[in-house]
């Protein structure tokens, strides 16, 4: 009996020794002992796929094709993302520098709130919460971030700011792939609000709110 108990204790110690405890660090992927239908022949996004030459399951656009898309409502027109329209490019159709002056979408309170949210996600790390170019990254070597309260940017047409968000400028890379078209316009609207907040005078503040400012 004693040898049996000793053997059992040894076996338990061995199993615990080899397998460890729940939550231990593991470098190997979890074992799937009965695979059943856990891994099927379908492709997941961003996975490897031997079928394609470059080994990627997520495909790039075939040149000359457009994605299925929902058009954007601009005024009473429907504009598709592939069209050369001011709402998609920020400029007049067929030109390269004629930027439009105003945001082509209705600026509502909801739109502004969306703009603030998108600004805080995408722009804040570098440009800072007040858009003065003092984001957290300025402490880590990103020294030349534009101050968006510059006169140059305040007087820039809305379309050109949209274009800069889309394609980037100088060291800033484009955010066209990360921020959808209406969201980019919303960011422009929010940025205008931030700029106004610096340029505004006390006379523009409604009388009942003035006391809170001093």
């Amino acid at each position: 009996m004693r040898t049996f108990l000793a053997a059992l204790a040894l076996a338990v110690a061995l199993v615990v020794g080899v397998l460890g405890f729940r939550g231990d660090l593991k470098r190997q992927p979890p074992l799937e002992i009965f695979p059943d239908m856990k891994r099927q022949m379908k492709l997941r996004p961003q996975a490897t796929a031997a079928f394609f030459g470059d080994g990627r399951s997520s495909r790039e656009f075939v040149p000359g094709t457009v994605a299925r898309s929902t058009p954007l409502k601009v005024g009473d027109q429907l504009v598709y993302p592939f069209e050369d329209a001011p709402v998609n490019t920020g400029r007049l159709p067929g030109t390269t520098t004629n930027f439009i002056d105003a945001i082509p979408l209705p600026v509502t309170e909801e739109f502004m709130a969306r703009g603030q949210q998108r600004f805080e996600i995408n722009c804040l790390p570098c440009h800072g919460p007040l858009a003065d170019g003092k984001g957290v990254t300025s402490k880590f070597g990103l020294a030349i971030v534009g101050n968006l309260h510059d006169k140059r940017i305040v007087t820039m047409p809305d379309g050109e700011i949209f274009n800069t968000i889309t394609h980037g400028k100088n060291l800033m890379q484009g955010y066209g792939a990360n921020v959808a078209v209406p969201d980019r316009w919303a960011v422009v609207a929010y940025l205008r609000a931030l700029q106004r907040s610096r340029l505004g005078t006390l006379d523009e503040v409604p009388a009942e709110k003035r006391a809170g400012l001093k």
């Binding site: 979890p30 239908m37 996004p45 990627r56």
Partner: protein, 222 residues
């Protein structure tokens, strides 16, 4: 006449019974402890090709999850960012650092960085990020405190019970929509008060937003 069985065999049946009982319990306990995603998945922390740290980027720099995982709100799938997203900053920050060599190479050539996928449900489960994120379920409920991790670690078991526990009673986990990506956000720092407010607001939000309690198999298996 001598005994057919020596005397010590009198105790044998009892000993065999006890022995079998002990071995049986050990096997059951072992299976209970080990044959579950709580053991198999929790703690999985593969070595990644680039030593990317969520603690630095999400916590210290205060970046929002959606800066990088920008599809999480509109798609079932939460994407891993392309190397171009990293280069937004790393074309200036740590510009020539050897740890980022692979990122620079990938951004230049378009060849993807071979990140190792950590969280992965079986192919017969149709999980969806956008529903959860759009209904006030925070990343932290399913991924743990990612913003404190230098290397991402599988923190929750993601088993079917895990999903159903919340689906049966979402009010216990739901939070305001603008706090979904603030992983350490709480109603209140005091645990008791936090629980009370969670119950109060949770039930109200579930009622206001008409959040369903999805338990039918076809919600997740199609």
């Amino acid at each position: 006449m001598s005994d057919v069985f020596p005397k010590w065999t009198n105790q044998l049946p009892l000993k065999i019974l006890i022995g079998a009982g002990l071995v049986g319990s050990a096997v059951v306990a072992g299976a209970w402890y080990y044959l579950t995603p709580k053991y198999a998945r929790v703690g999985y922390q593969p070595l990644q090709p680039v030593a990317f740290s969520h603690a630095i980027h999400a916590d210290q720099l205060g970046m929002d999850c959606r800066y990088c995982h920008n599809a999480v709100e509109k798609s079932w799938y939460s994407n891993i960012p392309a190397a171009g997203t990293c280069m937004n900053c790393h074309n200036q920050v740590l510009k020539d650092d050897p740890r980022l060599a692979l990122v620079r190479e990938s951004a230049a050539s378009g060849k993807p960085i071979p990140w190792v996928q950590i969280h992965k449900v079986p192919d017969f489960v149709y999980f969806n990020h956008s529903v959860h994120v759009g209904r006030g379920i925070s990343c932290v409920e399913c991924h743990g405190p990612i913003h404190k991790m230098d290397e991402v670690r599988h923190a929750k078991e993601l088993s079917m019970t895990f999903c159903l526990d919340c689906h049966r009673h979402p009010a216990a986990k739901i939070r305001p929509l603008d706090k979904v990506t603030q992983l350490d956000w709480k109603w209140s720092q005091d645990p008791k008060e936090n629980e009370r407010l969670q119950k109060l607001h949770g039930e109200k939000m579930v009622a206001d937003w008409k959040v369903e309690s999805l338990e039918s198999c076809s919600a997740c298996h199609r």
